[in-house]
């Protein structure tokens, strides 16, 4: 199943995913978002086995709700990253087949934060971008060439959108439009990209 990606900018992060759901070459759905929100400015992208994407996204909704009740505050992206890591490692010998991506802004520091994981919770902290899913190679190529430091929110949107659309157009297993979230301090913008419908 196709892919989410996230990139970092100046006081902003972006996270995006395509909308295809498929079983190998068979397209099952063309409206299957893979990005989930766990607080005002914390987002999780999930690729991999669709059943595990749903199970894992629900599991974290449950865990983050309990966190909010116990702590009486929203979870920070850093804490979310550690929660994802430990939860995945609990299933070290029977893992969920997912490759998560976390993106958000830390409320206390105001700093943007992104990271990625393998299926058993090893964290990949990145200062630039994280990619995951079937078009990871293509995304590495486009991000490496298009990304630059300190992108403002609007430029960040253009960069992540061009990177994602160009990448999924060279992957038969991804595409059918995309969701893009631009996360700034106290502001989240969600956009739907139509993209190629083939």
């Amino acid at each position: 199943m196709a892919n989410p990606m996230s990139i970092i900018g100046k006081n902003a992060v972006a996270i995006a995913c395509d909308l295809r759901l498929g079983l190998q070459a068979l397209t099952v759905s063309n409206d299957f978002p893979k990005i989930f929100q766990y607080g005002p400015d914390v987002f999780l992208g999930l690729t991999g086995l669709a059943t595990d994407v749903q199970t894992v996204s629900d599991l974290f909704r449950y865990k983050v709700n309990l966190y909010r009740l116990r702590e009486e505050r929203d979870i920070s992206p850093q804490t979310m990253a550690n929660l994802v890591s430990t939860s995945l490692y609990e299933k070290r010998f029977g893992p969920f087949f997912v490759n998560p991506v976390v993106a958000g802004i830390n409320r206390t520091t105001g700093e943007p934060f992104i990271c990625g994981f393998d299926s058993i919770g090893c964290i990949d902290f990145a200062k630039d971008f994280i990619v995951s899913g079937t078009s990871a190679d293509q995304l590495f190529g486009t991000c490496e060439a298009l990304w630059q430091p300190d992108l403002e929110a609007e430029d960040l949107f253009e960069t992540i959108s061009q990177a994602l659309l160009s990448a999924v157009d060279r992957d038969a297993l991804a595409g059918w439009g995309a969701h893009v979230y631009i996360v700034e301090k106290d502001k989240v913008t969600k956009r739907l990209l139509k993209g190629r419908q083939d």
Binding site: G141, E144, A145, L146, Q162, L165, S166, D169
Partner: protein, 265 residues
């Protein structure tokens, strides 16, 4: 019965990429000797055709698995030159895949192009050379050259020409093409920046009314920069790409070469 070392009963620990494979044992007491005629030597090449020029570039690393054989083994060649240095050549060939096959293919095409000149008293056109290369590749349909080739030059109208091939000679003229280990990283970038895919004219409408930006011929200096950007990105994320970047630029005045170092890690 010959003594069999216990380790030979285990699945071979030899790397699967080795040109010379180790001895494999299929059953106790039986030793099977195998030779693999192919290897993958990594690396990447790309070509972009402009209005009156064609740039073909490739990295100069040659590797086998995790080992680097050499940091300078050109994958981009001048075809049909007057001497060993390739002066007077007008056509560029780039090959990735199995380096030995790439070199053999280069030698063969080079001599074909020279034969053409001696027999016809004129230089071969890029179009004819492209067809000849396809024939050479298809002549080995059942024991192919393990190479992906791209061929470039200036066509009969003076326009930049670029042809890309599969292993057995199926070919197509294109504006740009990335080939080899990092093709999957570079190609989407080229779609976006050369053919302007997914780019629309700002303010031209909403939804289906949006006008796609039409791809226009790019300046040579701009294309050179795109090539550099494409490769510095590929070097960052692909272990088989690096060491040096060789760019051959074909114009009506002949072929010019630019070499720039790339990261060696």
């Amino acid at each position: 019965m010959a003594f069999i070392h216990p380790s030979s009963l285990l699945p071979s620990s030899n790397p699967s990429y080795s040109f010379r494979e180790g001895i494999k044992s299929s059953a106790p007491g039986i030793q099977e000797h195998r030779f693999s005629p192919y290897a993958d030597n990594g690396g990447s090449t790309l070509g972009i055709a402009g209005k009156d020029f064609t740039i073909i570039a490739g990295d100069t690393r040659q590797s086998s698995g995790y080992s680097i054989n050499t940091r300078y083994a050109p994958k981009v060649f001048r075809i049909g030159g007057d001497d060993d240095s390739g002066t007077g050549a007008k056509i560029i060939l780039a090959v990735t895949g199995f380096a030995a096959d790439g070199n053999a293919l280069k030698e063969r095409l080079d001599s074909m192009v020279k034969m053409y000149k001696y027999q016809h008293g004129k230089d071969i056109s890029v179009k004819a050379c492209a067809q000849r290369l396809a024939t050479i590749l298809y002549s080995k349909r059942f024991f192919p050259y393990y190479t992906q080739a791209i061929l470039g030059g200036i066509d009969e109208e003076g326009v930049g020409a670029l042809y890309s091939y599969d292993y057995v000679g199926s070919y197509e003229r294109e504006q740009c093409r990335a080939v080899g280990a990092a093709a999957s990283l570079i190609m989407p970038f080229l779609d976006n920046q050369v053919n302007l895919k997914n780019q629309y004219v700002p303010g031209s409408g909403v939804g289906h009314d949006l006008k796609a930006k039409a791809a226009e011929p790019l300046e040579q200096s701009h294309v050179e920069q795109l090539v550099r950007d494409a490769f510095s990105g590929a070097v960052e994320r692909h272990i088989e790409v690096g060491d040096g970047l060789q760019m051959l630029i074909a114009t009506k005045d002949g072929i010019r070469e630019i070499y720039t170092p790339l990261k060696r890690d």
